[in-house]
């Protein structure tokens, strides 16, 4: 038979299109033609496929080979089509079974010696194809962990072209598989723990509140007070990701070329303050690519030295903070990436950092000081529920170890359990996501409890927004205490955690 076809996947963002890869061998001068809107890297597939086949003992016929990628209108790029192209051509030449090849979707890049190399985006490809009803896949062994994470599909993983050919009925001599080193991600216990932090029990308590309600948090303090250490340890007290969440996060990672196993530890991303808006939000030249906020999906985004970030980068965070997703428009189209992350920001009180340090002299002039924190704009701070001062640890407390992260995590899980029955009736999963209007209408604790808050509002010491945030925090604090409704003490503590309004 001189005609054969198989399936491949063209990814766009996290979605994709099933691609028919058709190969025809015609009686004409030897040539290898690839049509159907391939980009430069995909056009090079012909060279890789020809060499890989020849070096695997599966020489292609000396005829004109035409490969068509259909639908031709969908842009296709990258090297992940190599395997599908080679299998379609080999089937057309009669070296492997035509029917067998047609049943499977092939993903993988070929080395010139026929080795099957791992590619980016295997996990989202499989998920998208499954969505479209395709269930049988052949993937590179390098991407085994990603394929294994997808429920309800059939897959085969190989590391050499000859193994795939033999699977499809070729009699070629198989190159034996490499030893698979199973990547074992470090267990949760080995990640940094709050017991490494000395004498900051108050701040760690606030982190527990933040973890429970999913509240965004801002820490202000002098250099060396432990802000970074405390932030880095937030994932260690967050509940483990559910399998669905872990796969969502891993799909974005796969797209960015981070291979490995699917981890249940929430991701922690700490971009440098020099990062551009597109590196945070997502970008790409003509094809949308996920940014760091999407890599932090279901985890923590930590902005150390937050005021040092470029203004556009900070402002760009506002919309995804609200919606939990981000749409990236590029020439090739618009892609949606998930971006539900918990924001943790750390900042010094002034450019030199020592404004609140009793032992050191701050050398900043007053306008410089106020300008510094003003770089965090009102709308951004609006989304921060907790803002607190982190002081240097006094000598007396320097020996006091923090609590164990595993214990704190249990508290967080228990508190979320308390709140879950209340949230079950709403579209939200965490207290921090509940909008103020809903909060005030449906979750109003008694007037007696709210007295202090109402008083503060009347006096003008807090704004309406501040009011909502306090109420939201009070519910989280109540959850932590195991009580259904906040009490006056919870409101008071919420007012403290909300912190003074900046500027």
């Amino acid at each position: 038979m001189a005609l054969a076809k198989t399936k491949a996947m063209a990814l766009f963002g996290l979605g994709g299109t099933l691609i028919d890869v058709e190969a025809d061998i015609s009686s004409n001068l030897p040539n290898f033609i690839l049509v159907g809107l391939p980009d430069a890297s995909l056009s090079e597939a012909t060279a890789r496929v020809r060499a890989a086949c020849a070096n695997s003992g599966l020489a292609l016929p000396g005829r004109r080979i035409t490969v068509n990628l259909s639908p031709a209108s969908v842009p296709k790029r990258g090297s992940s089509f190599d395997l599908a192209i080679s299998m379609a051509v080999l089937a057309a030449s009669g070296a492997v079974g035509v029917e067998s090849v047609e049943e499977w979707l092939h993903i993988g890049e070929l080395a010139l010696d026929g080795t099957l190399r791992g590619v980016h985006g295997v996990l989202p490809s499989l998920l998208a194809a499954k969505e479209l009803g395709w269930l049988k896949f052949i993937v590179p062994a390098d991407n085994l962990a990603e394929a294994a994470a997808v429920q309800g599909i059939t897959f085969q993983a190989f590391d050499h072209l000859t193994q795939v050919a033999a699977f499809h009925g070729s009699t070629v001599e198989r190159v034996s598989p490499r030893e698979q080193e199973m990547l074992v991600k470090e267990a949760v216990g080995s990640s940094p723990c709050y017991s490494d932090v000395f004498g900051q029990s108050e701040v760690i308590d606030a982190m527990v509140v933040a973890a429970t309600g999913g509240h965004h948090i801002l820490m202000l303090g002098s250099p060396g007070s432990g802000k970074t250490m405390i932030a880095e340890r937030l994932p260690s007290i967050l509940p483990e990701l559910t399998p669905t969440q872990a796969i969502e996060t891993a799909a974005v990672e796969s797209l960015s070329g981070i291979h490995g196993s699917i981890s249940s530890l929430p991701p922690f991303r700490a971009p440098h303050h020099n990062s551009s808006a597109s590196s945070l939000i997502g970008g790409g030249l003509s094809i949308p690519r996920p940014g760091l906020i999407s890599l932090a999906h279901n985890g923590v985004l930590f902005l150390d030295e937050a005021p040092e970030f470029q203004q556009p980068a900070l402002e760009a965070l506002r919309q995804p903070l609200e919606s939990g997703e981000v749409f990236i428009s590029r020439a090739a189209g618009v892609a949606r990436f998930p971006a539900r992350f918990q924001l943790v920001m750390a900042a010094n009180p002034c450019p030199c950092g020592f404004a609140w340090d009793p032992a050191k002299n701050c050398r900043c002039v007053e306008p410089a000081k106020s300008r510094y924190l003003h770089r965090l704009s009102g709308p951004l701070l609006d989304r921060i529920d907790i803002s607190l001062k982190v002081n240097n640890v006094p000598k007396a407390l320097q020996k006091e170890r923090g609590p164990k992260s595993s214990d704190l995590r249990e508290r967080v899980i228990a508190a979320r359990q308390v709140g879950s029955s209340r949230l079950a009736k709403t579209p939200w999963q965490l207290n921090a996501q509940v909008p103020g209007a809903y909060l005030r209408r449906h979750w109003r604790p008694g007037a007696a409890v709210l007295a202090s808050l109402d008083g503060a509002l009347e006096r003008g010491t807090i704004s309406m927004r501040g009011y909502d945030r306090c109420l939201r925090l009070a519910y989280t604090l109540a959850d932590l205490d195991g009580s259904e409704v906040p009490r006056a003490s919870h409101i008071a503590r919420a007012m403290f955690l909300r912190g003074a309004e900046l500027g």
Partner: protein, 120 residues
């Protein structure tokens, strides 16, 4: 003429084999190794009412690829020009022409011959 080299000998051998093959399938060979200032046409034959211009490629073992791979786009373009030139000089007009390729692969005494029709 200078003494033929090994390559020439192989080429002449291949062309003879190709001609014999074409005759065996009922073609009438009209000219061999027709030359003009642009180059050479290996074989010119007639397949019923069609004029067939044949490029013959002979190789010794396939270590460096199929013989037919040596026929490049450039070579094809030259062949087309040669066909026009031949028709002009022989005053052949209003006929159907075709360019074919024959590959002869000699490998340790075994000979493999392939004939591709209408190679554009």
């Amino acid at each position: 003429m200078t003494k033929p080299t090994r390559r020439h000998v192989l080429g002449i051998y291949g062309e003879r084999l190709a001609a014999d093959y074409l005759i065996s399938i009922g073609y009438e060979v009209i000219e061999r190794n027709w030359r003009c200032s642009f180059g050479e046409i290996d074989l010119i034959a007639r397949d019923k009412d069609r004029w067939v211009f044949v490029e013959v490629k002979t190789r010794n073992a396939a270590g460096f690829g199929e013989p037919l791979e040596a026929i490049t786009e450039e070579k094809l373009a030259r062949l087309r020009k040669l066909v026009g030139e031949w028709c002009r000089l022989r005053q052949v007009a209003g006929v159907q022409v075709r360019i074919d390729a024959v590959s002869v692969l000699v490998n340790q005494g075994h000979v493999k011959l392939e004939h591709l029709k209408q190679i554009f």
